[in-house]
């Protein structure tokens, strides 16, 4: 590694660490009246300080970072796996699957005793929104894998992901047309929110990251080899179907967990690897870890902004990430056209 590359990576790592620490403090300080260190001290010393900071703001702050980290990691993995810098972590059907899961649970409570039997409605409702979204996300990816007949061919996998995404979205629309009351819940899910992240969410997200980050990192050399083309990677002795399957499984787990806990957060997974490659181009071993850290920082930043921009009201965090991420990509496009 050249000295310049080494310095770039160090600068990125230190920068991310410092920004994350600042944002973490901001996250703890951000309340319904905006945020300030004075109000943080006042809240902490107040009668409900431990509850507000310890049980609401701290898990929300940590949860937002973990969700963003999972999405950043998934984005870098998807872009390496599909050898496409525009690959998104949701492209294997996890988002539409999670959305359908949420809609089914919401609709079950409305349709219970009418269109479906009360027992079925009860069984679905007992799943809970989080579990339904997670199960839906995994089911979406599983359907994609089935349709693509495994993970042997990335083009087939991508096409299957598009088809599954469309079909599950259509099913989701069908359910909401039968139970219009579920529409608002679906909309809230699609907008994304970090508002419901508690300590149990943090535990689930942290376990997910602890599984997927080392797994993907161990596969980094395979992703590096894929940059030379599928055939060259194969000629280097990689069992590509197995490698792809492991990465798709990690992708499904990471996105499934993220969407089930925070809804559909747009652009974090897409933009994080771009930012890393821009500031510190490197092999996948570094890019994966740095994309996770960048994703965490981005979502934490969006979360703090969402809470403080028009306090005491909140902007949906998914809307903010879409605006910020979309803006970044437009700027990137404009810059490239200019050069």
């Amino acid at each position: 590694m050249s000295e310049i590359d080494c310095q770039r990576r160090q600068r990125l790592a230190i920068g991310l660490l410092l920004i994350t620490l600042l944002l973490a403090v901001a996250g703890l300080a951000a309340g319904s009246e905006g945020w300030s260190l004075v109000s943080l001290a006042q809240t902490w010393s107040g009668p409900d300080g431990a509850l507000i900071i310890g049980q609401i703001r701290a898990p929300r702050t940590l949860g937002a970072w973990l969700t963003g980290a999972l999405l950043g990691l998934a984005g870098a993995t998807a872009q390496g796996l599909f050898r496409n810098p525009l690959a998104d972590p949701y492209l294997l059907g996890s988002a539409s699957g999670a959305s359908l899961g949420v809609v089914l649970v919401l609709a079950a409570s409305v349709l219970g005793g009418h269109a479906i039997s009360p027992a079925t409605a009860d069984a679905i409702a007992r799943l809970g929104l989080v579990s339904a979204a997670f199960a839906g996300a995994l089911l979406g990816v599983l359907l994609t894998l089935t349709l693509a007949r495994g993970a042997q061919q990335t083009t087939r996998l991508l096409l299957a992901g598009v088809v599954v995404g469309m079909v599950l979205s259509a099913l989701s629309d069908l359910v909401t047309s039968a139970a219009p009351d579920a529409l608002r819940g679906k909309q809230a899910f699609l907008l994304g929110s970090t508002g419901f992240l508690g300590w149990s969410s943090c535990v689930a997200l942290a376990i997910g990251l602890a599984i997927t980050l080392p797994l993907n990192w161990r596969m980094a050399r395979a992703l590096d080899a894929l940059t030379l083309g599928v055939e060259s990677a194969h000629s280097l002795g990689l069992a590509l179907p197995r490698v792809r399957l492991a990465l798709v499984a990690a992708l499904a787990l990471a996105t499934g967990l993220a969407v089930s806990q925070a809804g559909l957060i747009a652009f974090v997974g897409l933009v994080s690897p771009h930012l890393v490659r821009r500031f510190a181009p490197a092999p996948h071993g570094f890019t994966l870890v740095a994309s996770a850290a960048t994703g965490g920082t981005l979502l934490l930043m969006a979360d703090v902004l969402a809470r403080t921009l028009i306090a005491p009201q909140e902007v949906p965090v998914g809307t903010l990430t879409a605006l910020l991420g979309g803006g970044y990509l437009i700027w990137l496009l404009h810059r490239r056209r200019g050069s």
Binding site: I4, T227, E231, H234, S235, L236, R277, P281, T287
Partner: protein, 255 residues
């Protein structure tokens, strides 16, 4: 001793019969496969590399059916350089060449000093040490081709399969490549290459002439019958002449 053996191999690519009952035994030394566009040269090389499924026939590597070789073992036994070497991503030249050690290291092992030495040697052989810290997308086509060649050399395999290795190379580097191949062969490596430049191919120990998915002729570079077959498959558009001690293929422009 036969290193590679193709026995009655047929391959269909869509409606096109790319290979039709091809049989070939590759022995130690440098074998060059030549022929007009669409003759099936690259398909045959891909078959040898285990990258192309065959519809009929059998391929053996060192006397063992290719299909029975574990993927990683096969990758250690032979290195392959693609015709149009793809390269995306942010890897530096050294990192790309280092991927040549993947068959030996697998996904999890840490590179040893021996691996690093092999990478250094491969870069020196392909003359790309000077820009080892540059990224692949910053290089010209010829420079990139040399890096990918170094990646193939870094495998340290006893068999090198090179598909159009002179693509994008300027004449001095084409000559350097021929010398490199000859050095590799002297060191005991078997090289099979597809070449469009017939004068370069006529430096090989053994030539295989292909046309329309079949082998038309094969033999040592001095073989007059091989020269006749070459002129014939190129529809008389070339002449082969001996200048000093080398055979040269020249375009035949007279009416």
């Amino acid at each position: 001793m036969t290193i590679l053996l193709a026995r009655q191999v047929s391959v269909a690519l869509g409606d096109t019969q790319a290979l039709q009952g091809v049989s070939l035994a590759v022995r130690p030394g440098w074998t060059a496969i030549v022929g007009p566009n669409g003759a099936g040269k690259s398909t045959l090389l891909r078959v040898f590399a285990g990258l192309q499924r065959i519809d009929a026939g059998e391929v053996q590597l060192n006397g063992r059916p290719l299909a029975q070789w574990p993927v990683r073992e096969r990758a250690m036994a032979m290195a392959w350089l693609a015709q149009q070497g793809e390269a995306s991503g942010e890897l530096t030249v050294r990192e790309v060449v280092h991927l040549g050690r993947l068959p030996r290291l697998g996904l999890f092992s840490t590179p040893t000093e021996q691996d690093e030495a092999r990478v250094d040697q491969a870069m020196a052989d392909a003359e790309c040490t000077a820009w080892q810290q540059r990224r692949l997308h910053e290089l010209s086509g010829g420079e990139r081709q040399r890096v990918l060649l170094a990646r193939a050399l870094a495998v340290g395999a006893a068999l090198l399969l090179l598909d159009e290795p002179t693509t994008h190379l300027d004449p001095p580097h084409q000559v350097a490549l021929v010398r490199l191949v000859q050095r590799q062969v002297r060191a005991g490596t078997t090289v099979v290459s597809v070449l469009h430049d017939l004068s370069l191919a006529l430096r090989a120990d053994h030539l295989v002439v292909m046309d329309q998915g079949r082998i038309c002729a094969e033999g040592p570079r001095d073989d007059p019958a091989l020269h006749s077959a070459l002129v014939e498959v190129f529809a008389g558009a070339i002449r082969i002449r001996r200048i000093d001690s080398h055979w040269l293929a020249m375009a035949h422009l007279e009416d």
